[in-house]
Symmetry: C2
Subunit: 344 residues, 2 copies
């Protein structure tokens, strides 16, 4: 019998609740001879308040010994903004070199979009995950005074851009429409923007069948609401990807359904799967949170580990559940329904 060593970081707020359902579905989807060895890590606001730690080096070391990480949600109003985000979530993404931040934008049949006219939406955003304005490079001068100056430095390397761009081309090449859109703001952020554009064009020569285009990030937001069908694969920078994927979640029925994978394709470090939504402290502990985004993240985890058929089964279960959804269900009711479909 094989085993899947899974690190689980439920985190804050609704994280605990949605991860529990994700694990149920994972168990139900895996072949009978695969045993999940799940180790839970208590990280997030509680630990920070108790010990002052966000991600101790010893935990980071231990996490390396796993096949994948499932994360619920990080963040709580009691912790100053940025502490957990930078000290835990982004620290993991950077430490494990999660340079492919994969975020599908798919409107499932039966799900209501806030857009009029039931658009046909099925794209995937390949967001760079280890560079750009997210590197944490910057600082302040004359801090706290009326003469304060604050900087944020976006760092972009040919190496870092090329690997994510190539990954995006491969994905586009393997999809029926074979279309790839680069989103940046190369008319204003000319240094980073021209580097992205140059590499996008260079790598494109390896993929003659992929049709490409370019959009400024501001224009891209317009198309997300007026013509989302136009997108197939999108590749973009860390910050633009952050913004666009929340917008993508909104137009595909909300953040309760949006999955993501923080992927290191080399396999040197575990990849991490998490719903795009946050910890939603306002509804935490009430069994109200929709675990679907976590379950779809579990499908991405399965796919990443080579359980392709199992991943498809989970996605199909979600699709069927969404198509027939009626009435309000609790977090575990949704989880149980998905388990039943996956097992059935």
């Amino acid at each position: 019998s094989r085993s899947l060593r899974l690190a689980v970081i439920p985190g804050d707020g609704i994280g605990q609740e949605v991860v529990a359902e994700g694990l149920k579905v994972l168990g139900a989807a895996l072949p009978a001879d695969v045993k999940v060895e799940a180790t839970e890590y208590d990280l997030g606001a509680r630990r920070y308040h108790r010990t002052g730690e966000t991600l101790p080096d010893s935990v980071l070391e231990e996490l390396k010994g796993h096949d994948a990480i499932l994360l619920g949600a990080i963040g709580d109003p009691s912790v100053p903004s940025g502490v957990l985000e930078r000290g835990l979530l982004l620290k993991l993404r950077f430490a494990f070199d999660h340079h492919i931040n994969l975020r599908p934008g798919k409107l499932f049949p039966g799900v209501k979009s806030p857009l009029a006219g039931e658009p046909d939406i099925d794209f995937v955003v390949v967001r760079e995950g280890t560079e750009g304005p997210y590197v944490g490079n910057g600082g302040t001068l004359r801090t706290g005074t009326e003469h304060e100056v604050a900087t944020e430095v976006s760092l972009n390397t040919a190496y870092g851009i090329e690997r994510v761009v190539r990954d995006a081309y491969r994905r586009a090449d393997s999809r029926p429409r074979k279309k790839l859109t680069l989103v940046h703001k190369n008319n204003v952020l000319v240094h980073a923007g021209h580097l992205w554009t140059r590499i996008f064009q260079q790598v494109g020569q390896e993929f003659p069948e992929v049709t490409t285009d370019y959009l400024h990030v501001d224009a891209a937001t317009i198309f997300f609401v007026t013509q989302p069908e136009r997108f197939d694969v999108i590749v973009t920078d860390n910050l633009f990807g952050d913004i666009l994927t929340d917008l993508a979640a909104a137009v595909t029925g909300g953040i309760g359904l949006a999955a993501s994978g923080n992927i290191n394709p080399s396999g040197d470090f575990p990849s991490m799967f998490e719903p795009v939504h946050g910890s939603a402290p306002d509804i935490a502990g009430q069994g109200k949170a929709d675990p679907t985004a976590t379950v779809l993240s579990v499908a991405m985890l399965l796919e990443h580990l080579g359980f392709t058929a199992e991943a498809a089964k989970v996605e199909a279960a979600v699709a069927a559940d969404l198509a027939e959804r009626a009435g309000v269900r609790s977090t575990s009711q949704v989880g149980d329904a998905l388990v039943a479909r996956v097992s059935g």
Copy 2:
């Protein structure tokens, strides 16, 4: 008789066509004793190709002698991305210290939104115009090689943030709902984000009647499509403002209706008014472009110069025209219809 010294920069593509209609409406709206002394400046792609110049110092000097600038659109595919944007449009915004980039997001009755359920949208974005990632600070190392590194530095000052934040509070305080939302990404861009947040809270103490809240930029995009009614006044950084105002234009019926003002409230330099849309080379010269965004920018220009009643008249003309719009009209037909309403 008084005179209004207006610098006109039609620019590229549809710029020429829409500015012509804007000027017609301006003439019709002003009191009979005010004479428009319009000077046209040939700037943009044509001039760049002819002379290599984007904005000569002598022209910048001359522009200073005007009460305001009306700009059509800048940009053409024949010019490398960034050259005209940085060398002309942004150069003007920075040289004339246009720190208040004002962009209303209003869904006029009769206009179709891509959002389902006919939402009630009436907010204004106060975008910082002279700082942030737009400063042009950055560069490349090992340019053109596989080891290239490119940086973009966002510069943010207490001075620069405070003036735009105070302006936004004043605007919020003068509106019925008195609500102000700060949008940033202070959980990731912690240096700039915390500076924005600190100043937002400090200045807020001068405006006890204004209700405030804070949204990360990614979450803000969600609310723009799921709950745009929640916004009254939004204040944000230069880049986030760029992105959000294109999205705002999209949800309020499209970029053909979105107006903007690049304002220097000190009056030391002329403020500049321009539609948010670009030069749209694909439809240029065909008399197809909707001049409404330019006409609404003219209303903002009138307001800025103290012609409050005249500004209201122009906005009312646009509202009436939009409410009754039927069938396809040419650029000048729309302009003529607005002139008739303003004069009538």
